[in-house]
Symmetry: C2
Subunit: 388 residues, 2 copies
Amino acid sequence: MRVAVIGLGKAGLPLAAVIADSGVEVIGVDLDKRKCEMINSGENPIPEESGLDDLIKKYGGKLLKATPDYTEAKDCKAYIVITPLYLDENKNPEFCTLESAFRSIGKILKRGDLVVLETTVPPGTTDNLVKRWLEEESGLKLGEFYLAYSPERIMTGYSISRLKEFPKVVGGVDDESGRRAYELYKRFVSNLILVSSAKLAEFIKIIEGCYRDVNIALANELFKIAEEIGVDFYEARKYANHEYCHIHLPSTGVGGHCIPVYPWFLIKEMEKRGKFEFARLLRAARELNDEMVNYWVEKIVLECLKFNKPLSEVKICIKGIAFRKGVKELYHSRNLALAKLLAEKGLDVGVYDEMFTPEEVEELGLKWREPDEGDVVFDCFELRLDVK
Amino acid sequence: MRVAVIGLGKAGLPLAAVIADSGVEVIGVDLDKRKCEMINSGENPIPEESGLDDLIKKYGGKLLKATPDYTEAKDCKAYIVITPLYLDENKNPEFCTLESAFRSIGKILKRGDLVVLETTVPPGTTDNLVKRWLEEESGLKLGEFYLAYSPERIMTGYSISRLKEFPKVVGGVDDESGRRAYELYKRFVSNLILVSSAKLAEFIKIIEGCYRDVNIALANELFKIAEEIGVDFYEARKYANHEYCHIHLPSTGVGGHCIPVYPWFLIKEMEKRGKFEFARLLRAARELNDEMVNYWVEKIVLECLKFNKPLSEVKICIKGIAFRKGVKELYHSRNLALAKLLAEKGLDVGVYDEMFTPEEVEELGLKWREPDEGDVVFDCFELRLDVK
């Protein structure tokens, strides 16, 4: 059996490696030629992913072959798509990358093949868009091929262990597709659950993200209230949380490819149907999280006012611009947004992040500044505001 | 040592019984004479409270003496207040019952006494209002008496086990008060935590309620979306929930004395300070939960339309009017609100609840109807809409 994995990014490559590790031959397709060459020579392009080095070294170029060319995957019996999905400026999903991947698969799709989508998508995407793209390109009808959905549940840095231990759900566009996808995944996922449909599996993944987003928003709101009334949020959280209470941590907002994106799939779907009131809480949470940068800008500026010099001469250092500590990722980073907002206000802001070089920071249009060079230092990960 | 417990309701009586069970003499003060007589004769006025029967039988009239008269508590060294706090029609707390309790204590308060509040209150209540009431009535100053806060964390039906096992926090208005309250509670609470202040302890209790309210609102919102797009919310929830995801259950809203009340303490406090945007999520969640009855009315009426007769002749049965299954409590019951709303719309609605008699239902201005007499039966606890 030979399986194709389309998209060798932070979610796709660990999956491809885990499949190879189960003894199944994998053709990994990724448009990035250099990345394919690295993988084929046993070099891991995502070194921060724990456990991935070993797997790429062992299987790269052997059981796991990477290629930018779809036709090299034409003998595969199963195609797993795990390419990113971004939002446009109106918060609607941009399907172009996914569409292109599925149309490319459609061109090489054969009778009896199985196609599985792993990318988090709005509910109904697999049933409608993906099925249509595949049918249009292949000339086959569903039933002649099989189609299912199984959301990736990885977390950058822990993807291998997540894949090997965390429950994974899979749902088919029809029953036979679900059964076939289940049989495939059973080879390399130990904790696998077959659910009633692809749409349900899509919904499951999104509501996990919504739970996180709303609860981070709640933590942010309670944090602001605690500061306002003068109690220590962290002490309160420590003793409020127990078996039935899971208050999250406050933040500068929520960044990355997942949590700030998924709620929009439901919000936009409801708004498209004219059901604005059906996604009111999700929208309020999303906006609250995005607006946290304004809260922190106020706090920082109030600290700057305490210096006996013009505001624009107080040296501000923003420590941490990645969306999360320990990753080199800027997608929807609210820490980066915070630094940019301070710069837009004409303040003297520099940034520091251990994952980035001064040159990389300057390419973002920002100044590099070591924390000990700042009059006011705001640590975005610890939410600590220190004054020299 | 002798301890007074002021308020022998669903929270106070279990507390008084547990204190007596630790060998400490308790004077329970409650204005309800008949209830005091019952307790003193060993009869439990709250039979649905598991384990309370035995304790009242054992200690009632002996180690636990109930009285409507505060002066009988004048030799106590500690006073624990656990009387209810309601909201007025503008969602502001009505302090009259609490004020009256503390002023009564103030009249008998002696140098060295300890006073502890257990009722859930807006943060700062103990520091400000309670201190002032006690000082005004007693002529003593804080330091001559001690004042602390320790939130009840009971749950009707499970109060005894909660008190004996669940972590309980206590915080003083000053350090000495905190220490003394800790020493007192240590006698009958095994899992006790001294936190930095009374205000923090007040905040802890409220944010637990906020977590619950917001997460029930989230469940309600996701449930509506699931119904709209045609997936099974319960199946999705089952597989979405894991160690890091705790999606709650949908409902007709949130009733009872606790969860629908506590968020208002923070919302109103922020609004009083002009910080409307600091409690936006809490308010959205509160409103969403309260408006769930409208959602269910729509669902029920759409079912009624399927019958081949005038809407007003379709027999609707609302099964369950208490705010929660298994309790005989109507405070802020959204199930009762749902039944009343249907009646206001001129529909033929009857209600059924195993905890109530037909006479009790009629006293509420509603008709009694057995489920098998209804054309359309809505079970408020199971959210099941059945049609004959």
